[in-house]
Symmetry: C2
Subunit: 273 residues, 2 copies
């Protein structure tokens, strides 16, 4: 399976934990981890090679032609990394058909085969939206995306990418133009651009399975009339997404999903010892 991760060195620790949880919960699978990393040292790659090698998987450093960003508009404090997801098909080897993009603030606690092998139909992506307690998309998100005509506002932290279709339909000029035009009004430029430009070509998957916002246990429990308890999560949820400011790798992080994160954190140390 192909995995895409784009990050800077601050997320090296979480990346290790995410990878370990993925390997452990997907036994007998091997992974090619495509990394677009900023500021990584040789020792960092060696450590990641050691970890992935233990699970017969490989780190692949994505090497791309920097001129692709020649015409890219810049925006406030954002680096050009904000474009990596949307332009993934241009950056990755041309022989790849599909890849799973993952944010590094994630834990995988079950098998991802079903998401990975999803039938895209003619969609560009498969992803989940984080709805509010009534199951409705945040109106703020709807309003601030003017040319927005999709049903949901998708979270871009977990995205199955149909690279074949992206090579046909995603034009970097469109992305650059959107950011140039709306940039200053955007809260999350890459996620907003994804939704505004391609929201209608995203296949919706169940967020409580593939992009579970760990801040919203009570919401999921109530909306499901008690079905989505911890037993259900443990058996069904594939991807826990630690959204928000408080992150589980902080020593003092408190929450229902803290101890399971620390558990995998401890396992990483064992694997690398």
């Amino acid at each position: 399976m192909n995995i895409l991760i784009t990050l800077d060195r601050n997320y090296l620790g979480p990346l290790r934990i995410m990878l370990a949880s993925m390997f452990i919960n997907n036994p007998n699978k091997t992974f090619d981890i495509y990394l677009i990393a900023d500021g990584f040292l040789d020792a960092d790659y060696q450590m990641l090679d050691k970890l992935t090698g233990r699970f017969d998987s490989r780190i692949k450093i994505v090497d791309f032609d920097k001129s692709i960003f020649g015409q890219a508009p810049s925006l406030r404090y954002y680096s050009r990394a904000m474009y990596y997801r949307l332009l993934a098909a241009d950056l990755l080897p041309k022989n790849l058909d599909r890849i799973l993009y993952l944010d590094p603030d994630i834990l995988l606690i079950n098998k991802i085969d079903r998401l990975y092998n999803i039938d895209f139909s003619d969609n560009l992506f498969a992803g989940a939206s984080h709805t509010d307690s009534l199951g409705i998309i945040d109106t703020v998100n709807k309003i601030r995306l003017s040319n927005y005509n999709a049903e949901s506002y998708f979270n871009s932290g977990v995205l199955m990418m149909n690279l074949k279709m992206m090579r046909k339909l995603v034009e970097k000029e469109d992305v650059f133009a959107y950011i140039k035009d709306k940039g200053k009004g955007l809260l999350l430029p890459d996620q907003d651009a994804l939704n505004a430009l391609y929201g209608h070509k995203i296949l919706a998957v169940d967020d409580s399975i593939y992009n579970y916002d760990t801040r919203h246990f009570r919401k999921h429990l109530l909306n499901s009339k008690g079905v989505k308890n911890f037993d259900w999560i443990s058996k069904n949820t594939v991807i826990l997404h630690y959204c928000g400011k408080n992150k589980p790798w902080h020593e003092d992080y408190i929450g229902y999903f803290a101890l399971i994160y620390k558990h995998y954190q401890k396992l990483v140390d064992l694997y690398l010892a």
Copy 2:
């Protein structure tokens, strides 16, 4: 290492989870699990053999002379199982020097060597007390044990037993007499008898490490000025004790320690598949 467990068939499910967590977090160790079980079927023992066999460990059914309970007073709805812990030295093979008694509503998340190999000095047991938020023992417990002269009220759910010394000092007649005399006033007859008769011969160990009451996360965090957060627990706590009425194997159990329990529950299913 020798482990003692006494239980009836209602606790077969939790027993499997406790054992799996112990095996997984104590790699390269083998265990002899001494079981005094009520109502177990042949199929239950076969299933436990399969699980323990995967970790090079063994189930040993404790076979004892029933006449030992000939003079034992009965008490309300309690079965004679209430005597098993205190009279363990009489029930177990005479060649055993030490054994770790464990309740089945427990999860082991780190290595137990240090507790197992503790220097008893001239004590009969090593155990932990569950203190209140000020670090003081519940006065109710102090008052109801009239001949009580120990420092703490010990929880009997995790007990390292000095069997050698117990054979010298623990007299079943004393235990029977105590239950006969005080029985009706006791809330937890076996735990009360342990404290009243032998509280002064129990070596105190840190409950936040060896008998962490999962209901008291906030208490431990506050008492330790924030040190005993989930990171600390994950690294230091050996035994999580799911005290109280709400049990983590119930489908709808909610709490900070729910998901880690469900995690091991899921692993058991994998090991037995």
